[in-house]
Symmetry: C2
Subunit: 120 residues, 2 copies
């Protein structure tokens, strides 16, 4: 099973999702992120999906769940680099990523996680 | 083939290497990083290997090459999160990563890439 590295930079965890993530891997990623949030007591979670060009309903739901669960654990979520295709799919699936800050670049997402009052 | 995402944050490219990278993948990663350096004109390259617990001579050489090539293109390299096993292997293989800043945390590597005078 592919292991997705989780980087910690200051108070923010950075996860970069690749293509072709299986359902089992998605569940493992969700679990690992939550464990890492607890472990590092970080306040922000940045998920970069700029290389993802296709998302299915399962992965979309997992993204939504990660954000909701991270929020319960006191961590804000930003999703960056969404491609047009993925945005179309997310809306068609009815997944609006409520409470999640979305931005095209990692810089903007990171900036928002550190200073939430500056945008979104 | 596994695609390794390359994040751009400010002037720095961030690459996180996973385990079980094949030789072909390592070559592809090297190529993609160099293309991205040219594309983004970034000044720093951060390679996080904190989840890598085993490195072979080929991957060690590739890491060395990436740093040397990036330098020719005007980009400094920092490698972060090296495990004891990997450090042992690197020295036993005679790979000293000259001109590369190494640090245990991503924060330190990132900080150095932005202000090279503060350490190393």
């Amino acid at each position: 099973m592919m292991q997705v590295p989780i980087l910690k930079m200051n108070d923010v965890l950075i996860v970069t999702l690749g293509n072709d993530i299986t359902d089992d891997e998605a569940i493992a990623i969700k679990h690992n992120i939550l464990v890492k949030i607890k472990e590092t007591e970080c306040q922000g979670l940045l998920i970069d999906i700029s290389v993802v060009d296709l998302i299915d309903s399962f992965m979309g739901r997992i993204l939504n769940e990660i954000a909701e669960m991270a929020k319960l654990m006191g961590s804000r979520t930003a999703i960056t680099g969404m491609s047009p295709q993925v945005a179309i799919t997310m809306i068609e699936l009815g997944l609006k990523l409520q409470g999640v800050y979305t931005a095209l670049t990692v810089e903007k997402g990171f900036e928002w996680l550190r200073n939430p009052n500056t945008g979104a």
